[in-house]
């Protein structure tokens, strides 16, 4: 089932939560809405669900105009960040809730609940109460509850946000496998770029109520449309025209910035033409990856990431003089930067 969002806008008071959003989700795909908090990603999801009404624009699910349709009639499954399980009902009764409402026969309900308990690998937990489950188990129950009524689309609002790192990873892999089996059109909201890349077929990067870019994980990472996307989907060094790394190109001017990812900085022990000298200022071992802080001639600092093999081959030490050559860079103009200035700088701090 497809989801089409056309020209949707929504304001909360003076706050423009959604600003002319256009989005087309193809049947059977898993799409991530990725963005910082306040970017409008949750509002967009809730608008598709029918929990918010757009001020303008249209929402179509499977070609049917659902813009003003009651949430109860949209046939969607919704999964909340904090599970929103019914605490006074057992796991079984939680899952069967939508079926009870639809007055299905007891046998049909029992069979469907058993299927779902198996799907979420919680057989034997049917008679427990939500308070007796771990966070990851609760979220799986919430998912089963949403799937029980066989919705046309599945909407997940930061489904892994309340879980700790390990469970998060397990559950997102599980969600991806589940989606590969069921092929239910799904949209999920996240602020975690790794999560979006690991799970989604397509990523919709949002900022300040607008869509910045839509693409596959590889597309948004390798060909970011603007500085915001570039800094949001991965770590990046942002350098102005005074930096030696930028100066050596002939494109340096005060109106533009050079963006280079830490793993795109190649490090040499002996200088070659165009190489930029730097001093190793800090070495952080993160297992397989080694992160370096390098001071350039103008005292600005860049970050470079090496893998262990590269690092041990170079035999780097603190204070050592090295030479840099970027493998891949991006240039963005000042006007684009100003437009994104606030959110980009916030993002830098968060990373």
């Amino acid at each position: 089932m497809s989801i089409t969002v056309s020209q949707v806008s929504k304001k909360f008071g003076n706050f423009q939560a959604l600003d002319n959003i256009n989005l087309d989700v193809k049947p059977g795909t898993l799409v991530a809405l990725l963005g910082p908090s306040g970017s409008g990603k949750s509002t967009l999801l809730r608008t598709v669900a029918g929990l918010e009404t757009p001020d303008q624009g249209k929402i179509k699910i499977n070609g049917r105009d659902t813009t003003n349709l009651d949430i109860r009639k949209r046939n969607i499954g919704f999964v909340f960040q904090h599970y929103a399980l019914f605490k006074h009902l057992t796991v079984r009764r939680n899952i069967s809730f939508g079926l009870d409402i639809r007055k299905k026969s007891p046998q049909a309900i029992k069979q469907r609940v058993n299927e779902l308990l198996e799907l979420i690998q919680l057989q034997g937990f049917g008679d427990r109460y939500p308070s007796q489950l771990s966070g990851g188990q609760r979220q799986r129950v919430a998912l089963a509850r949403a799937l029980a009524v066989q919705p046309e689309v599945l909407l997940l609002d930061e489904p892994f946000g309340a879980l700790d790192a390990k469970v998060r990873q397990e559950l997102r892999d599980w969600l991806r496998r589940l989606h590969d089996e069921v092929h239910l059109t799904s949209i999920f909201v996240t602020h975690d770029r790794e999560e979006a890349m690991a799970v989604a077929d397509k990523i919709v990067v949002m900022n300040q109520g607008r869509i910045e870019q839509i693409g596959t994980p590889a597309e948004v990472y390798d060909n970011p449309a603007n500085p915001f996307v570039m800094s949001f989907v991965g770590e990046v060094n942002i350098l102005d025209h005074t930096s030696p790394l930028f100066k050596r190109t002939n494109r340096a001017n005060s109106a533009s910035r050079l963006f280079v990812r830490p793993h795109d900085l190649e490090i040499f022990e002996t200088p070659q033409k165009h190489h930029v000298a730097a001093k190793v200022q800090r070495i952080v071992h993160l297992g397989w990856e080694i992160q370096l802080e390098l001071a350039l001639g103008d005292r600005s600092v860049v970050s470079a990431h090496l893998n262990r093999e590269e690092f041990s081959r170079l035999e780097l030490e603190l204070g050592q003089q090295v030479y840099l050559e970027p493998r891949q860079v991006k240039y963005f103009e000042q006007d684009q930067l100003n437009y994104h200035a606030s959110s980009t700088s916030n993002q830098q701090i968060a990373v």
């Binding site: 929990l51 919704f78 929103a84 605490k87 409402i101 939500p130 029980a148 009524v149």
Partner: protein, 284 residues
């Protein structure tokens, strides 16, 4: 080894000093509780034990005593039931609705806690009597409120409302709106959402609030003694009977009825504790 020695003794000293000093709050707590609370209650219970079971039963079950129990408990229960519904509604409105004057409305709920019972009785007796602001609306239909059992009922409604509101309110606040949204997304109607999703987690709190209000209403004296005529078999409640017996120097009578009331409050206290445990059943 030698260097350890002073260290050891100093810790011991410290510990001793600590434990002697911490015992002061213990002494005050237990001593004060005993003097102010337990000793008088023990005196009441001992006194009632000296009466002897047969005579105790006789005094406790005279027709007058039985009628005061009936008037007290049935009226208090009725007030509790009405406030169980109305208090829940008020709490719902305070938590879920935004309207001008909401904060004042919220403060007004606490007035019965803050106003002396004799003041409450005075104003209720004046406003609900045949010529009072509200009483005159009912008088033409032959309904008298003040100085009848209805007056007792109104006084009990007045004093017990905040208990239900203040017990349900925090539970409602904790009930995330997502719970309702989840029910809607699964196709539940407004009514289904209310009966199946919102009400069940509130029930322990509603019952706890009702029990607290009931406990207060059963023991209420000040407002009722003024708003009722305290005529036996009509609107005389048990606490007022205790007071009257004392005034007539009938200490045995007062002791027996007072003990019955004490037992009822203890049972209600136990019930409230059980209800509170029950309400934590599904908590994380």
């Amino acid at each position: 080894m030698t260097s350890l020695q002073p260290n050891l003794s100093s810790t011991r000293q410290n510990k001793q000093a600590h434990s002697t000093r911490i015992s002061l709050p213990w002494v005050i707590t237990i001593g004060y509780l005993s003097l102010i609370l337990l000793l008088p209650l023990a005196a009441l219970i001992t006194r009632s034990l000296t009466i002897g079971p047969v005579e105790f039963w006789q005094i406790a079950t005279t027709p007058l005593a039985r009628s005061t129990y009936e008037i007290t408990f049935v009226t208090a229960l009725a007030a509790g039931l009405i406030n169980g519904i109305m208090g829940t509604l008020v709490a719902w409105i305070l938590v879920r609705y935004q309207f001008p004057g909401r904060r004042i409305f919220d403060g007004v709920i606490d007035i019965p806690f803050a106003v002396p019972t004799s003041v409450a009785g005075l104003v209720l007796a004046t406003i609900y009597n045949d010529s009072g602001w509200i009483g005159q609306l009912f008088a033409p239909f032959g309904i008298r409120i003040a100085f009848t059992r209805l007056g007792v009922f109104v006084a009990m409604l007045f004093i017990s409302l905040p208990f239900i509101v203040r017990t349900v309110q925090p539970v409602l606040l904790e009930l995330e709106p997502e719970i309702e949204q989840a029910a809607w997304s699964l196709g539940a109607s407004e009514a289904q959402t209310f009966w199946r999703v919102i009400l069940p987690p509130l029930i322990p709190a509603i019952l706890t609030g009702m029990a607290l209000g009931l406990s207060r209403a059963v023991g209420e004296y000040g407002s009722v003694v003024i708003v009722a005529s305290s005529i036996p078999f009509r609107d005389l409640i048990a606490p007022v009977l205790v007071f009257q017996k004392l005034e007539q120097y009938d200490y045995d009578g007062a002791t027996v009825i007072g003990t019955v009331l004490l037992l009822v409050s203890l049972i209600l206290l136990l019930l409230i504790n059980l209800l509170q445990q029950w309400s934590r059943r599904y908590a994380d």
